[in-house]
Symmetry: C2
């Protein structure tokens, strides 16, 4: 698999990227919960009823993982892949329920070259995950490491021509 | 499964909670990647070599999910479960590699009652995930919703006594 896609120079503040939809399956909520977040509200309908969620809900980390899947499949596609350095903000305003259908919208908030690494830069992207009622279930403002566009063959030729002319 | 554990009143700034250890399996890195983060550096050793990671690495969301598992099994145990409202900071300073053995340390940074909900409060907890070399692979500062201790039977009796005496 070859990584191609957008370089830092191809991103601009104000760009928006959208995804397809993924449905959250009840059984996957439970198996994800059993492996990574074994608490009653992620494991069993009856036990979930008396909790703060009032019923079965997906682990926030399940929502985060599905959001990543949607982001990888969106048109964002940075050259070198989606590599997160971390997040400035991260919230789950509403639980995800069995059968919910999620999609995302990613807005580019900032684009800047790295001070220490001339071959890369950072983009700040706010990704909002919505359910089928267009209610936000997760908001994350993440910093992604993105490659800068390598020097073009054309530019190299130009440099050689300058040397040629100077000699 | 009955939820018992610490109420807001049982948490104090400066408390530290630790976990056991969990090893990250190479095959699980790949299957997690295939389901949630299908990018070359999470799927295949050869394809990962030429990427920013220079080899196979766990998805950051896999690291986050395993961290949650460690946190659920730690002594933190808030009454009502570990319910995250979101995070103020979230970073992956170092990749997680196949075979890495992770553990966590959680420090309570803040404890405060809710202004709008008299039955609950928030604690701010910094959870650092370490590998077997005690290098941090994830740092998250999360806000958790925690129940306040319900009125005690003793206090109710006192109130009744006051009414009795007043009548």
């Amino acid at each position: 698999m070859k990584l191609t896609g957008r370089y830092l120079e191809d991103f601009a503040v104000g760009q928006t990227f959208r995804s397809g939809r993924l449905q959250i399956d009840k059984e996957r909520i439970k198996t994800f919960g059993a492996e990574f977040d074994p608490q009653p509200f992620h494991l069993d309908e009856d036990a979930a009823r008396d909790t703060i969620f009032g019923g079965l809900a997906a682990s926030g980390w399940h929502t985060a993982a599905v959001t990543m899947r949607l982001l990888v499949e969106s048109d964002l596609k940075p050259a070198g892949g989606i590599v997160g350095a971390g997040a400035d903000e991260f919230r789950w305003p509403r639980p995800v329920r069995p059968g919910d259908e999620l999609h995302i919208e990613s807005d580019v908030l900032e684009v800047r070259p790295s001070r220490s690494r001339p071959d890369q830069g950072l983009i700040k992207v706010r990704t909002t995950t919505f359910n089928q009622h267009d209610e936000a279930v997760q908001i994350i403002i993440a910093n992604l490491v993105v490659r800068r566009r390598p020097a073009q063959r054309g530019e190299e030729t130009d440099a050689t021509e300058l040397v040629d002319r100077a000699s």
